[in-house]
């Protein structure tokens, strides 16, 4: 019985939900980049990518929601973390990937939906778009990896 109670312990539940958030968001970010890489090498994937992109975005935002809500509650348990440089750096990178995520959803995804049908014809437009979208994707992946590494350091090393 004690084991079952420990499983529904609030602290453990929050940490598990935080971890689920990481898995969902990082998994979706990596999946998006793999699909975008396929598109770079084979433009015929454009329509397929346009169908998949909103679903992957949805997953990233679900992950973000889980991470921010559980993150707030976890932070309230350990407010002393605010003095840690690693935590401050982590929050800085979270801010970067958040702004980048808003840009990806507010500009990149709708633009891609428009361009997807004429992806093979719209050469110059597609190239310019691909450069900006690629840059945002690189920032996204690098940012998420950094946040995960810093989070791991906070939880296990510091």
């Amino acid at each position: 019985m004690t084991d079952i109670i420990s499983l529904i312990d609030l602290d453990i539940t929050l940490n598990l939900l935080h971890l689920f958030g990481v898995i969902i968001a990082v998994g979706a970010v990596f999946s998006t980049d793999i699909v975008n890489s396929l598109l770079h090498f084979s433009p015929k994937f454009a329509v397929w990518d346009a169908k998949l992109a909103p679903m992957l975005s949805l997953m990233v935002w679900i992950g973000f929601f889980l991470l921010s809500t559980t993150g707030t509650l976890l932070f309230l348990q350990q407010p002393h973390l605010i003095h840690e440089t690693v935590f401050q750096l982590k929050m800085l990178f979270v801010a970067i990937i958040f702004v980048n995520g808003v840009f990806l959803n507010a500009w990149v995804t709708p633009r891609f939906q428009e361009l997807a049908d004429q992806w093979q014809e719209a050469d110059q437009k597609a190239e310019a778009f691909e450069f900006i979208a690629g840059l945002a994707s690189v920032i996204s992946v690098a940012g998420w990896v950094t946040v995960v590494v810093l989070g791991y350091l906070l939880a296990n090393v510091i």
């Binding site: 909103p54 975005s57 921010s68 707030t72 932070f75 348990q77 407010p79 997807a116």
Partner: protein, 119 residues
Amino acid sequence: MSKYRKTKVILASLILLTSFTVGYELHSETIHGEENNTEQEHNHQHEHNEEEHQHQEPQDHQESNQNNQEETQLFSVSDAVEESSLSIFVILFNFLIAITSLYFIAKILIDVWRGTIKQ
């Protein structure tokens, strides 16, 4: 105003209302937690005195008391703000992320429902 815009405004209002409610609940929880904490400290002192007389208490009971004490300190916003004024920015920033996430989740779901997104 189009039906779509109206839906978005209603959703944004609902999200804001939810965040205010959560914020208020969190604030109430803090006050409640502080009250409980004082009570628990009092109880703990009382138990400690009893322990001195009895010298024997099951270990499980002690652990559960410790857990209870930890739980009361879980969501103390005031403690976090006392620690550093930067804490309030972290909390508000997380709320901003949560609200924005809810907005985008709702937007994507509405787009899928309306058939705006290619399927």
